[in-house]
């Protein structure tokens, strides 16, 4: 089938040629895919703002020999608040950039699609404080890491398996490490460990209502190390947020 219909979150969009754009999409049926949309940058374009980042659309894609082209788009969800608030924009960018980097192209990941959509919806509904200290952003990233198979080990030492008190966080070993296995780990406070536990256990809707804190920011910094270790790059959205 050269034509396929799918629902997708627009993860990012880059100018291509004179008036086209190169989109990175996370589709419900085919996972992450890249696609071209023709003429979208012209003011007379029939696409309008439908294919802007963070929108959810029903798309018809034409699969060419080397790339997919969007031939039709209907808007399903548009998160207006994300365009009006710098912290919300940053939070959405963290989730979308992480999804683009964590998941291989063309692998169906329906749960990730649902997670992205619900994450964007919660961010759009508003959260407390700066994005870097918001439990919602920490939860969004940790749940994406879980779906990618990189959930940090939080209940024992990730190196020797011993229980007891964790003293550091090691990206290379995949989570908390004990005093005997410190190695390259960075020190972590009990409050940051508690923030990570909450981020894993609580749904995004509950995390949205939780207040921001320095412990969440510390936990996000550590989790970002784990992300960078597996994805091979750091998140530009967190550089934007000056984390």
């Amino acid at each position: 089938m050269r034509y396929a219909t799918t629902r997708a979150v627009v993860l990012s969009s880059r100018p291509l040629g004179e008036a086209d754009r190169w989109l990175t999409l996370f589709t419900r049926d085919q996972g992450r895919i890249d696609a071209v949309v023709k003429g979208v940058r012209r003011t007379t374009s029939r696409w309008g703002g439908r294919l802007e980042p963070f929108n959810v659309c029903d798309l018809v894609l034409y699969r060419g020999r080397t790339r997919a082209t969007v031939t039709s788009a209907q808007l399903v969800d548009v998160f207006r608040h994300l365009r009006e608030d710098r912290e919300a924009l940053t939070a959405a960018a963290v989730g979308c950039e992480a999804a683009a980097l964590l998941f291989a192209e063309g692998e169906p990941e329906e749960r990730v699609f649902a997670l992205l959509r619900s994450g964007l919806r919660e961010i759009d509904a508003g959260f407390h404080g700066p994005a870097t200290g918001a439990p919602l952003v920490l939860g969004f990233l940790v749940k994406l890491l879980y779906e990618a198979g990189y959930l940090p080990v939080l209940d024992r030492c990730a190196s020797c398996g011993a229980g007891g008190r964790a003293l550091a966080f090691s990206a290379a070993r995949g989570g908390l490490v004990c005093g005997d296995c410190l190695g390259d780990g960075v020190p972590i406070t009990p409050e940051a460990i508690a923030a990570l536990h909450a981020a894993v256990a609580l749904p995004l809707a509950e995390l949205r209502a939780a207040p921001p804190s320095a412990a969440v920011e510390e936990a996000l910094r550590d989790l970002h190390l784990l992300f960078a270790y597996h994805a091979g790059t750091r998140l530009r959205a967190l550089r934007f947020a000056r984390l």
Binding site: S12, S13, G17, E18, T43, T44, R46, W47, G48, G49, R50, E52, P53, F54, L75, V78, L82, R83, E84, D85, R86, L89, T90, A93, V94, C96, E97, R236, A237, R239, F240, A241, R242
Partner: protein, 200 residues
């Protein structure tokens, strides 16, 4: 496959935006077929533009000196500044003939997805320009996610006494309502204006 100089020409042409290897090859062979007097002006124009054109020290538009032709024009209204993303965005605004103020080119738009933050743009220079003589700043960044975010950020930074406006969004002249997308039509409704009020 070709001689080194032809290979180099193809490689250099392929670095231009929108030019792939095939197009580069086609352009290279077109250049080779032309007489020297037909193609050397192109080479000279490229050298000249790189030697003589820089950025205006005030607005960051392209300039052939310290100031661009717009900033150097004393007839322009210095009380209004139109903020755009790129120098190319000035051209369509000038074509309208509706604007007689000055410009400020940001050099891009805020984009967390690309890691472009306020320090990467000429936002501080804009804030420094907005002195007592400036009474309005028009934000003419693109109506995209990044353009909107940039406009919101700048609006927050502006002194309260300055009027900050944003270009209207709506239906293109000559367009058909039936084909308008939901976002544009929504904006058009939100930004509708009273015809009766204007008559009064």
């Amino acid at each position: 496959m070709y001689s080194p100089s032809v290979d180099r020409l193809i490689k250099e042409l392929a670095r231009l935006p929108g030019i792939g290897p095939r197009s580069a090859q086609r352009l290279a062979f077109h250049i080779l077929r032309q007489k020297p007097e037909q193609v050397l002006p192109l080479a000279q124009a490229i050298v000249e533009v790189k030697e003589r054109i820089g950025f205006c020290r005030r607005c960051f538009n392209l300039a052939e000196g310290a100031l661009c032709t717009i900033c150097a024009d004393s007839r322009r209204d210095g009380g209004v500044i139109c903020v755009v993303e790129q120098p190319a965005d000035i051209v369509p605004v000038e074509r309208t003939g509706e604007f007689r103020g000055l410009y400020h080119v940001l050099g891009g738009a805020l984009s967390p997805l690309d890691g472009v933050d306020p320090d990467d743009l000429h936002i501080n220079e804009l804030l420094a320009r907005v002195d007592e003589s400036v009474h309005e700043v028009i934000l003419a960044t693109n109506p995209t996610m990044t353009g909107e975010a940039t406009a919101m950020y700048i609006a927050d930074q502006m002194p309260a006494r300055v009027r900050v406006t944003r270009l209207a969004s709506g239906l293109p002249v000559g367009g058909d309502l039936e084909y308008a997308d939901e976002l544009t039509l929504g904006r058009a409704f939100a930004g509708r204006r009273s015809l009766r009020h204007e008559e009064e």
